[in-house]
């Protein structure tokens, strides 16, 4: 009971942030609905109802796009036609597909932030991971059974991402170079490495004019969770969930995790307690990079089946936002990634059905983050008790997520 209440306390700000952002999104939909706005003088009631209807339609489409149409799923399951079932459940599986790399990268960001390292380099680490996995898959093609190639390519992707994360960790520990600068710069380097690698005839799709790799699916594929035509959801998602459990275990149950968190909160006190600050930095960045690299591996081997220049697509940056939304808790990262996955995926249908541009979703996501970053704003709007702290009251525990400080 106590644990539940604490959980509710922790979730209050993120959940209310999402609701508030959706409400603001609704206001924007209304304000940009010129058909209804033009009627406001002649038929105010109709205009208001129409505007509300517009919002309902847009968010309804988003929900359907993200989770599917329940009646349709029911009918499809009753008739049992595989093609119908596939079409009916496709939206929700696509939401999970979209959230898979976000979970990996979000976990990576959470681990590094917990250790006080602002890993902005998720995109770069993901690219390197994707490249590593692609090279391994193509290089090993035909030399071993596909099952082994799968393991080897994901491992190669993970290792490549880990290496790309280790570099800024090492630079910070040894020279004090700030990881924000180095990871951002390594993002550019990784993009060019990818571009260069895709010029190689060994990797590049034969006869292609754009820099994309050969299609990897014939060589190796990640087993699907549901074998229906057009369903892309695969075991990568399960691995992502396992990684969330692992990260949680690492952070809260192991001595290494204890060191990471201690150094992240207070480097000086960690040093006084005999911990190696540099070691924690390098470890956190390596793990963070490895997780992003794993995302890259599963993207090219499973979801997409091909490596292209825009493989990262800003996932590494969205991961920062959702990790903060999650309060840097692995379980929260999974939920936040599902939310972001649902928004991006559902937004597509919203765009088609109600003509509202997908950009509205970026607006909503940005608002979510802004509200999470400003808990006082949300507390004020929803009139929930804050943590105004009088002098020396031991009982008050701030509910805001612990944000890391730069060492």
């Amino acid at each position: 009971m106590k644990a539940l209440r604490r959980l509710l306390g922790q979730a209050a700000i993120p959940v209310l942030s999402v609701i508030t952002a959706l409400l603001f999104g609704g206001v924007v939909i209304v304000l940009t609905d010129f058909d209804q706005l033009s009627k406001i003088g002649t038929d105010p009631a109709g205009a208001i109802l129409g505007a509300i209807g517009g919002v309902a339609k847009a968010y309804g489409a988003m929900l359907t796009g993200a989770f599917g149409d329940p009646t349709r799923i029911q009918t499809a399951l009753r008739t049992g036609a595989t093609k119908d079932i596939a079409t009916a459940i496709r939206p929700i599986t696509e939401t999970l597909v979209a959230s898979m790399p976000l979970i990996f990268c979000g976990l990576g960001v959470a681990v590094s932030f917990r250790a006080g390292m602002f890993n902005i380099g998720g995109d770069g680490q993901l690219r390197l991971g994707a490249l590593g996995a692609t090279i391994a898959a193509i290089g090993l093609a035909g030399k071993m059974p596909p099952g082994l190639i799968l393991v080897a390519s994901i491992a190669a992707g993970t290792a490549a991402g880990a290496f790309w994360g280790f570099i800024p960790g090492l630079l910070k520990a040894r020279t004090g170079a700030h990881e924000v600068i180095t990871t951002i710069m390594l993002n550019y380097v990784s993009a060019l490495v990818l571009f260069f690698a895709l010029r190689s005839p060994d990797l590049r799709a034969a006869g292609s004019t754009v820099p994309v790799s050969k299609v990897l699916t014939p060589i190796v594929d990640v087993p699907k969770l549901i074998t229906l035509p057009g369903i892309r959801l695969d075991f990568g998602f399960v691995v992502a969930l396992v990684m969330a459990l692992l990260c949680s275990w690492l952070l809260f149950r192991t001595t290494k995790g204890f060191e990471l968190r201690a150094s992240g909160f207070n480097l000086t006190a960690a040093r006084y307690a005999g911990m190696s600050a540099g070691g924690s930095m390098m470890l956190a960045m390596t793990i963070s990079g490895a997780l992003a690299g794993m995302a890259g591996g599963f993207l090219v081997i499973g979801t997409v089946g091909q490596l292209s220049l825009d493989v990262a697509g800003g996932i590494g940056f969205n991961a920062i936002a959702l990790a903060l939304l999650a309060g840097l808790r692995p379980g929260g990262v999974v939920l936040a990634a599902l939310l972001f996955g649902a928004l991006t995926n559902g937004g597509k249908l919203m765009g088609v059905e109600s003509g509202i541009p997908v950009d509205l979703l970026f607006f909503i996501m940005a608002l979510v983050i802004m509200f999470v970053a400003a808990p006082g704003l949300i507390r004020g709007m929803w009139r929930i008790k804050g943590s105004a702290k009088p002098e020396a009251t031991p009982a008050t525990t701030p509910t805001a997520p612990a944000t890391p400080t730069t060492p």
Partner: protein
């Protein structure tokens, strides 16, 4: 002006911070407000300065009721605050910092009338013997002078009621003396001064009246001419406290900590410890007295492995530790109570339990092959909380939300949770109230009697005199004299701390 607060009550969620507090101070008098941390002193002063609104109660100035909606109203009514933490822009000159927010202007463009401001500041500075250079940059000024700039700021705004919140916390003994004389001259000129502190000597020294707060209420008042330290301490804590923890004579055994010709550099690579020779034996407490910044910090960091040794020898229990890591030193059985518990000793956002294992999390019984045994952690932490009487809602409470005394108890409990042969304690009771000081001293004496060697570094003469079996005075990176606890007095220590070489001192 005469100030009167009547039945002030202020409630925060879960706490009654001020419960019908009534105090008054006459024009030209110094009211000493004494109380432990959390007694409600700061809340009361924040009400007086307009930061908080009282739930009930009235404020009268010269018999007229005033209601302060915000700090600006309080300043207009003549109430000036000097906070514990200074609010000065470091790159400003004294004139700029003082005039900031109360500038007079020469024209409609809002040009700052610097000459006039400077003239007034010089006048005020002379009138009250503040001795502040109006053109010096704030960042170049020592802490004591910065505090005088804060006082100037209040005077510049024509405050007739001046509130000083724990003003001596950051001052050296000499600067504190200077502060007293400034306060006296302010009072003589008609300013009403409210002096908030938890230090007994200070109210006895400077106040005309003493009011003691305890748990949000007025516990009593006292006349400084007749009150004793003991009476005030008992009033403050609400029970009989021991200002000087009773301890038997030291029974010095083998040398545990040995330092010879020790040289250590500070962060700017200047030599901060310039050839220290000192032995600390098992079963004795050696206290190092000295004004902050004479190499004590660097000395402690060198002993505990946090700072490289430039040259010289350190051995702990016979083992050379000049190049040892902090963990290596700690593994030798060295307990370290660091100077700044918030920065060095605790991780505020982590729980009491996690802070309890902060330097032994990697060892049995907490760690088994790299995995934390949370059961063992919780059990041991709960035991530590019990043994050291740490007042915390639970072991899962964030360490940072505890009171200072309880935070320090967490540090001490952790450091004493394993057998130790040497205790290095830097400012172990800084900022703590009388009750906590008594407790921490008692624990340290216990360790001594159990056979540990104790090195205490403190800038508080009271502390040094209370616990030191031998007292070494550090000045400019050197030990300038060592006195036995019985021979040491405020006077001879004070002289040594100021750099006078002292005939009676025994070379190490």
């Amino acid at each position: 002006m005469r100030l009167e607060l009547r039945d002030i009550t202020k409630r925060f969620p879960g706490v009654l911070a001020n419960d019908k507090i009534s105090i008054s101070a006459d024009r030209g008098k110094v009211l000493g407000m004494l109380g432990e941390n959390g007694a409600g002193k700061t809340t009361l002063m924040n009400i007086l300065s307009g930061l908080y609104k009282p739930d009930s109660g009235q404020i009268f100035i010269d018999g007229e009721e005033r209601v302060f909606g915000d700090p600006v109203a309080a300043i207009k009514a003549g109430v000036g605050m000097v906070h514990q933490h200074f609010m000065l822009v470091p790159v400003f000159t004294v004139v700029e910092a003082v005039a900031l927010g109360a500038e007079t202007v020469t024209d409609f463009l809002g040009t700052f009338n610097r000459a006039e401001a400077r003239k007034r500041i010089v006048e005020l500075s002379e009138q009250y013997k503040l001795d502040v250079d109006p053109d010096a940059k704030i960042e170049t000024l020592p802490v004591g002078v910065r505090q005088r700039v804060e006082i100037l700021k209040a005077l510049y705004r024509q405050s007739d009621i001046l509130v000083l919140d724990e003003p001596s916390a950051v001052l050296t003994p000499y600067e504190t003396e200077e502060l007293y004389s400034i306060i006296r001259s302010l009072a003589a000129a008609g300013t009403t001064v409210i002096f908030i502190t938890h230090k007994l000597n200070e109210v006895l020294e400077v106040a005309d009246d003493i009011v003691v707060l305890r748990r949000g209420r007025v516990a009593g008042s006292a006349d400084p001419k007749t009150a004793t330290r003991q009476e005030l301490a008992n009033l403050m804590v609400g029970r009989d406290v021991e200002l000087i923890v009773p301890k038997g004579p030291a029974k010095p055994g083998d040398v545990i900590l040995h330092m010879e010709a020790l040289h250590v550099r500070d962060d700017r690579l200047e030599m901060a410890v310039k050839g220290v020779d000192l032995d600390v034996r098992a079963g004795e407490i050696v206290a190092i007295a000295g004004v902050q910044g004479n190499g004590q910090t660097e000395l402690v960091e060198a002993i505990t492995g946090l700072r490289p040794v430039d040259s010289g020898t350190i051995t702990i229990g016979g083992t050379h530790t000049e190049k040892a890591s902090p963990r290596h030193v700690s593994d030798l059985g060295v307990a370290h109570i660091p100077e700044d518990r918030g920065r060095d000793g605790l991780i505020n956002p982590m729980s009491v339990a996690e802070n309890y294992i902060l330097d032994s999390y990697h060892k049995a019984p907490y760690s088994k092959r790299g995995i934390l045994d949370l059961k063992a952690v919780r059990a041991r932490a709960a035991q530590g909380v019990k043994d050291f009487d740490i007042r915390t809602p639970s072991i899962d409470t964030m360490a940072g939300s505890l009171s200072g005394g309880n935070q320090q108890k967490v540090v001490v409990a952790r450091e004493f949770s394993v057998p130790v042969q040497l205790v290095v304690a830097a400012q172990p009771t800084r900022g703590l109230d009388v009750g906590s000081i008594e407790y921490i001293h008692r624990r340290i004496v216990e360790q001594r009697d159990a056979g540990a060697a104790i090195l205490i570094v403190s800038t508080e003469l009271d502390e040094v005199l209370a616990v030191g079996d031998r007292i070494a005075v550090m000045f400019d990176g050197r030990i300038v004299g060592i006195l036995s606890g019985d021979d040491a007095t405020y006077e001879n220590l004070g002289l040594l701390m100021g750099g006078a070489s002292f005939g009676g001192g025994v070379a190490a």
